[in-house]
């Protein structure tokens, strides 16, 4: 019984981290069709900004929830203005450019901070289920994942910005004809996606090893989840995160964490072969 509880908690943890990691990517890739291969580096920048802020005496909660998304959002804004905006509609070039960007950011952070940096302690402490110990932080992550899904849903469904953004993504020419400044919408959406990614980096900072190359561990996972989720950015990302989180954690429990990742990737490739439109292409058609 205790084992079941702790396994459930692991699955919740896996799904919540995946969901947080992917949400920003789903906004950038799912809505804008920009393949941002520097996504992992945005996560890394979020983690670094949190760590640096904490080391300068900022409260850890403020560092995670305010500093990280703000900083990475600004980086996103800068990147969109100087780089991405020249590459809309040039899919392959945008992939190559963001790949270059990812190398550039890794190099820059290595030059500034070196190959390692002291982490931050995990807040909130733990609790005990039978013979096992678990961390409250896991529960907090799950709550944050749900909260972010909810906030993005509200933003896209019920605000003027959300309406206009969805219109631009559907048909930029028509939206421009109706007087929408599409360039500004792209800029804002990209910055929003970057900020959400930065938040994920901040939240994952206490529970992951922080190095300049940590992003490469996330980028493939995040893409495979978004692709597996399909066109509906929220329903797709959430369902794919739960599915892949479950597969990953159960496989890791039954074998080793390394094979857990392998089985996750293989499962994802098989899923894409079976459902080329992703999960939401089949089950949540027409939802957000």
């Amino acid at each position: 019984m205790d084992k079941v509880a702790i396994l459930t908690l692991n699955v919740v943890d896996g799904a919540a981290s995946l969901c947080l990691l992917c949400l920003g990517l789903a906004i950038i890739f799912g809505m804008m069709r920009i393949i941002n291969l520097a996504h992992g580096e945005f996560v890394m920048l979020g983690a670094y900004s949190t760590v640096v802020a904490v080391h300068h005496g900022v409260n850890i909660w403020i560092a995670m929830i305010v500093v990280a998304p703000l900083f990475v959002g600004l980086v996103g804004l800068l990147v969109e203005r100087t780089l991405i905006r020249f590459l809309y509609g040039r899919l392959v070039d945008s992939m190559l450019a963001t790949w270059g960007l990812s190398l550039f950011i890794v190099g820059l952070i290595t030059t500034i901070f070196g190959n390692t940096i002291d982490g931050v302690p995990t807040p909130l402490g733990g609790f005990v289920i039978g013979d096992y110990r678990a961390s409250w932080y896991t529960i907090f992550l799950a709550g944050m994942a749900l909260l972010m899904l909810g906030l993005v849903y509200l933003l896209l469904s019920y605000t003027r910005f959300g309406l206009v953004a969805r219109a631009v993504m559907q048909n930029p020419g028509m939206a421009a004809t109706l007087g929408v400044d599409t360039s500004r919408i792209y800029m804002t959406t990209f910055a929003l996606g970057a900020a959400v990614t930065g938040l994920a980096g901040g939240l994952l900072a206490p529970v992951s090893g922080i190095t300049p190359v940590m992003g490469s561990a996330y980028v493939a996972k995040a893409f495979i989840t978004v692709v597996g989720g399909g066109a509906a950015i929220l329903a797709g990302t959430a369902s794919a995160s739960v599915l892949f989180g479950l597969v990953n954690q159960m496989a890791a429990y039954l074998t080793t964490p390394v094979y857990g990742e392998v089985i996750l990737f293989v499962a994802a490739i098989v899923l894409i072969r079976l459902l080329p439109q992703g999960i939401s292409g089949r089950f949540f058609k027409g939802t957000l």
Binding site: L96, G100, L101, G107, T111, S216, I272
Partner: protein
């Protein structure tokens, strides 16, 4: 007229390259020879992706998967057989088979370009994770221990075919690598002017139209992909022969990104460009490695960004466009750059 001229110039260039490969040991120091052996091995890898991406239109971000599999297959087979001859065969066969299986999933699933890039990248990262976790006595194939993150040291290098006691000198190893590069280049050149090569390019240009003309794009792409995998595997064997070592970083994101940079810098859709890009970037990385001021990732990233934004066609096509422009100018064509020399021919 110009077409024949270009063909003649190419033949002369190939012969000159052959002579250069044969003569290089008489001119260069051993250290420089080792250096260019590495460049040549990597150029073979660059050509493999240049072919499937530039001509087949297959956006494979994980060409390192086949490169690495080739390297590991060579290392394992060379240790087990004690002879490099069948090992080189294995280095080509194993990645080709892997490409066949993976390609079946991808092309017969009709997965689009973008997803293809993501999936191939994922595959190479999986292999990186798997091989990384194989340290320990229990992970071995025959006599060969996989060694996990430490890699496999002291892999036997090339020997004379079927004569393991006669190991090739660095000079001979250079000649093997150099001629392998030349051979692969010629093979791809000939393939591209053959009917099958034209179908490959047709599928890249317009898949639906090619299908309506009776070709199966899935089939064509699959075999293009397999050939690319086989060549990358050969490159893996050449690379391992150069360093007598293979480790999991061969599968890493950093290696994967370098190949993409070579081709983007050199010029997509050419065979010469990727070789030039490969040598240029490798030379640059070596230079950066010998000083401390700049991180190599920083420079590589900046180079890639700069090329994508400012020189999207790559160095070689831009340069040859410039030469063509100047040539036409001299002949008094009013300086209209003719991409294939048709303007000159029309006279």
């Amino acid at each position: 007229m110009a077409g024949k001229l270009a063909l003649g110039a190419q033949a002369v260039a190939v012969v000159a390259a052959g002579v250069a490969v044969a003569m290089a040991p008489n001119v260069l120091e051993t250290f420089d020879l080792m250096q260019i052996t590495l460049f040549a091995a990597m150029s073979v890898l660059s050509l493999s992706l240049a072919f499937i991406w530039g001509y087949g239109g297959i956006l494979c971000f994980g060409q390192t998967a086949f490169f690495g599999l080739g390297g590991y297959a060579y290392a394992v087979a060379a240790i087990d057989y004690g002879d490099s001859t069948p090992a080189i065969g294995m280095a080509i066969l194993v990645p080709a088979l892997f490409a066949l299986v993976l390609g079946y999933f991808i092309f017969y699933g009709r997965i689009s370009d973008v997803y293809l890039g993501v999936i191939t990248l994922t595959v190479t990262l999986i292999l990186f994770n798997v091989v990384n976790s194989t340290s320990g006595e229990e992970y071995h194939i025959g006599q060969a221990r996989l060694g996990g993150f430490n890699g496999m040291p002291s892999v036997p290098t090339f020997n004379m075919p079927f004569d393991p006691s006669n190991i090739l000198s660095p000079e001979a190893a250079w000649q093997v690598t150099g001629f392998a590069l030349l051979g692969v280049y010629l093979l791809l050149r000939i393939l591209l002017v053959s009917p099958w090569g034209r179908v490959v390019v047709a599928v890249r240009e317009n898949e639906t139209r090619a299908a309506l003309l009776g070709y199966d794009p899935r089939f064509v792409k699959l075999w293009t992909f397999v050939l690319g995998g086989a060549i990358a595997g050969l490159a893996g064997a050449l690379y391992v022969n150069w360093g007598a070592f293979v480790g999991p970083t061969i599968f890493s994101l950093a290696t994967a990104s370098q190949i993409i940079i070579w081709i983007t810098v050199g010029g997509l859709g050419t065979l010469l460009g990727p070789i030039v890009g490969c040598v240029l970037i490798q030379y640059l990385v070596t230079k950066i490695g010998s000083q401390q001021a700049f991180n190599s990732n920083l420079v590589l990233g900046a180079v890639l960004l700069g090329v994508v934004l400012l020189l999207p066609k790559g160095v070689v096509p831009s340069l040859s466009g410039l030469v063509q422009f100047g040539f036409n100018r001299l002949r008094g064509d009013g300086g209209v750059a003719a991409p294939t020399g048709q303007a000159a021919e029309a006279k």
